[in-house]
Amino acid sequence: MPDDAAFLQVRDLKKHFVLPGGLLRGKTRHVQAVDGISFDLARGETLGLVGESGCGKSTAAKTVLRLIEPTSGTIRLDSVDITGLSRSELHAHRRNMQVVFQDPYSSLNPKMTAGSIVAEPMVNYGILDRSGRRERVAALFARVGLRADQMIRYPHEFSGGQRQRLGIARALAVSPQLIIADEPVSALDVSVQAQVINLFVSLQDELGLSYVFVAHDLGVVRHISHRVAVMYLGRIVELARTRELFADPLHPYTKALLAAAPVPNPRRTRERIVLRGDVPSPVNPPSGCRFHTRCPMAFDRCKVDDPQLLTPGDGRQVACHLYDTATPARSAA
């Protein structure tokens, strides 16, 4: 494989959860949490997954890892299709993809010392002997900005930022090439958040890691991502290089999201696009384009015709009828 081939390739990934039906509820219903998403991720690249609660970004991340089993679609990691692998077959490939969760409080075993938490993945994969592991744990502690004497401490003795450093050290222990980070800085104070973001960036520069970085904070996503995928109700509605996405968003939802994000500049005047209403339920998503119920640009076709993710050019992708060349509605944008 050439070096620039996609390290992670996700195609038409779906995760539908079944809601139990019952005597009174009638037939079973499905939550279309992730409903056909596709993307590539190169080595050393960060793809930001952004969207509001319930858009499926976290489910997408967990499904890529197969922490949640996909309903359909394929996941290729380093050109190996891992979608149908058995648990034991998957084990070897898991080493290549690790995860960092949002809540460092609940993702660290409170009864284990910090050192053994970081060593555990190495034990699982039979990497190094006891003293070798101890050395590597010390090196990892130093790399993520923790002191070696903190190895014998327990998670509750660490601050939020330190716990997230611990989670990162644990993820790095088995030298993965891909880290999937699910809202890793959302629970942190801004000054500490900056420390952890800088750590992610410098680790990537140093180790050539690929990241799928799930976040709802547009500033954070913009800072850390090379490309950004915007999700809405289980779909990717727009995918573009970060700079282009933020300078010239195409999808009406992306535009609204950017317009809604508060900016720390009291003199900024801007076009407010305040969306009305809430995100509809993924149990019964709207017909046609899922965004049409809130979209200020919607026209008749949007109610019946589900837009596909198109490539209008420059490697940008957008799922919106406004950009469908067959429809002369583009000028309306």
């Binding site: 104070d189 900056a194 991502s225 933020f246 317009a259 900016v263 003199r267 407010r272 305040v274």
Partner: protein
Amino acid sequence: MKADVHAPASAVALSCGEPVIRVEDLKTYFFTRDGVVRAVDGVSYHVMAGETLGVVGESGCGKSMTALSILGLVPKPAGRIVGGRVLLDGRDLVHASEAEMQALRGNEISMIFQEPMTSLNPVLTIGQQIAEALMLHQKLPKRAAMARAREMLELVRIPDSARRVHEYPHQFSGGMRQRAMIAMALACNPRVLLADEPTTALDVTIQAQILELMLELQEKTGTAIIFITHDLGVIAETARRVVVMYAGRKVEEASVAALFETPLHPYTVGLLRSVPSLEPDSDDGRRRRLTEIPGMVPSLLDIPPGCRFAPRCPFATEECVAAEPPLTEHRPGQWAACWHTDRVEATFDA
């Protein structure tokens, strides 16, 4: 009833631009097994009618505890207001009786919290909860109170209010619950609204709706808002003046424009620089390192000597450890507690 609590002062407040609420040198301490936690340690601020004061700072800075102190809701028995005053139209609330405070809360002073689900009663309908305050404080009969509750839901733009007024909190989405909380908080036309991270748990598109709604209602009612948040973006869009808190102290106060353009305290500068920007003109590639504030907020049990920010401050000198800098007015309306504001200013301009 409203009038007997502060009748003499209110007329004065409305006529000559006196602050509606004034916090003076407030000290709220917690007496724990491990020692005294000085959660709020000499904080002063005020808000005028129709004004929004932003209070910003990170976890543990005392911003929420100041608000709870105003309402007389400091967790007992560990917590206690040990000094200072809270003046509502000139009347001190620190020494008010519990009965007097109950007459004020939800009436003269209301509060909205971050997570509406935990502050709504799950077994009462939304309408009953809004009506409760009206029946209690304004002595409305039940039928009139429920009708007014429905009007309040309409005011905060909850669609189909006639049906929604009879629904329970779990039937509302997160954004709608926060709207219902606002309806409840504003039902009695309070003089002061304390909003503690009211949009932090909401998605950005919903947050934009709620902020717009709050400011629009404020224009109609003239309510003074104390808006507590960690989000500088939200501050920039809502507040007129801003107080920055750190480790139980106010470290800077300024107009919102001055705070963002010419900050004087190193902590304010650190906060502003550590936020990843969405500004179009900062488009020089994503690899710019974010400015970190090294270390973390000190334990309030073990407050560093001198300036509390000194251990994390790039400007700190021996002077900072030796003596705590007083809060002084460096420019008209801009106050900072730092020995080195000249150097901070020079650096920020550069």
